[in-house]
């Protein structure tokens, strides 16, 4: 059963292959993601993050999930040499860059606890897959062609992992470099990371994209990550272990 819904300002799709699935199983996850949005959306004045940004909450009064996100963001900032930072150039907290991947992994965990083994969860182009697809094969995941959004440039076969793409082709230049907020990312248009889950894939894709052309070199140093980068000329550069995912 595959259902989509607009949550967190984008499209969330959940596809569960296990035969016992009911629509209510998927709706429970949508509800959870709506709660996440209520808490973390910087666009909602009533959200906890907006209250924090207005100085209405002290750190000790943050919710447990907010504390978790702040802790993960601090860890990620260190691991990415400062390229991932939830503090914007205006001094506000914007955890969007970490919440999406985290929420996908949380949603996948909820489905696993509910007994599902074969599914994927997608939020706005970032995905976590588990088990097999409806044909009992590995999940087939395309990497969207940044120059022709109807097409894919690669088709990957994945199971039990996360995949995330950072790019500039759909939302303008929505990622900024904390070391140089005014820097434009015109050279690299798409960077896809495959990792053990969507949380890892998303945060490393976001940070590496902010590094520009050096991002793929940096990613090559993590044996547990593989990545595929596309530049503005349509030239791709990919990590040494990436080909194992490509459909033959």
């Amino acid at each position: 059963m595959k259902l989509s819904k607009i949550v967190m300002g984008t499209v969330v799709t959940i596809d569960i292959v296990d035969p016992q699935v009911l629509a209510s199983d998927i709706e429970k996850v949508f509800n959870y993601l709506e709660q996440v949005e209520e808490k973390f959306s910087v666009f909602k004045v009533s959200s906890e993050i907006s209250r924090i940004n207005r100085g209405e909450l002290n750190h000790e009064n943050y919710s447990a999930e907010m504390k978790e996100i702040f802790s993960l963001a601090a860890k990620t900032k260190v691991e990415t040499n400062g390229y991932f930072d939830i503090v914007t150039d205006k001094g506000q907290f914007n955890p969007s860059g970490i919440v999406k991947g985290w929420a996908i992994s949380k949603a996948a965990d909820l489905l696993k606890v509910a007994g599902f083994k074969n599914f994927y969860v997608e939020i706005g182009g970032d995905i976590e897959v588990a088990g097999k697809n409806s044909s009992n094969n590995l999940w087939r995941v395309g990497i969207r062609n940044p120059f022709d959004l109807e097409k894919n440039v690669k088709i990957l076969e994945l199971d039990n992992c996360g995949i995330a793409t950072s790019g500039i082709y759909l939302r303008g230049q929505h990622i900024y470099n904390p070391h140089n907020p005014n820097e434009k990312f015109s050279d690299i248009v798409s960077l896809t990371v495959v990792a053990k889950n969507a949380y890892e894939a998303d945060r490393f894709a976001t940070a590496a994209f902010a590094m520009g052309r050096e991002g793929i070199v940096w990613l090559e140093n993590f044996p547990e990550l593989e990545a595929y980068m596309i530049d503005k000329n349509g030239q791709a550069t990919f990590t040494s272990g990436f080909e194992k995912y490509i459909t033959k």
Binding site: I6, G9, T10, V11, T13, D15, N81, K100, E122, G124, G125, D126, I127, W139, R140, V141, G142, I143, R144, N145, P146, K151, N152, V153, K154, I155, I163, A164, T165, S166, G167, I168, Y169, L170, R171, H174, H179, N180, S190, T192, M211, G212, R213, E214, I216, V217, W218, E220, N221, P223, I230, G234, Q235, A236, T237, F238, T239, S240, F242, T247
Partner: protein
Amino acid sequence: MKNNLKKIILSLFVIGAFIFYAIYRQGNFTPQTNDKNTANNNTPSSNTGNKTNVIYKDGEYTGASFDALYGVLQVKAVVQGGKLTDVIFLSGTQEGGRPLRGLDTLKSEAITAQSANVDTVSGATNSSGAFVSSLASALAQATK
């Protein structure tokens, strides 16, 4: 810190450009100085042989080491017959001393379209206002 990073990025860019030329010219690299006079020079080709070509002196040249984003990087340039024929990575270690993977192990290709069926697609966030509005209206029709 910002200045350091600028230096690092600039250094890497220079090194990267050097390597790019080395590979694409396959040893036939003959650098020219950037001479404005030659840029506007429409004289016949018989004159071009005497332009301001810079010939490198043969030998091996070790560059300074730079603190790259992922560790320390140092290269050696090899010049033979006045041309850059090789670039050797002398050092490349991550913090903690693990050997550097990177530059020399990455692979490259021109992208091509694949049209086979997929279960789902990974791409940059599809959340432009127009996209979501359009989808919302489509879904509204779908629920009628």
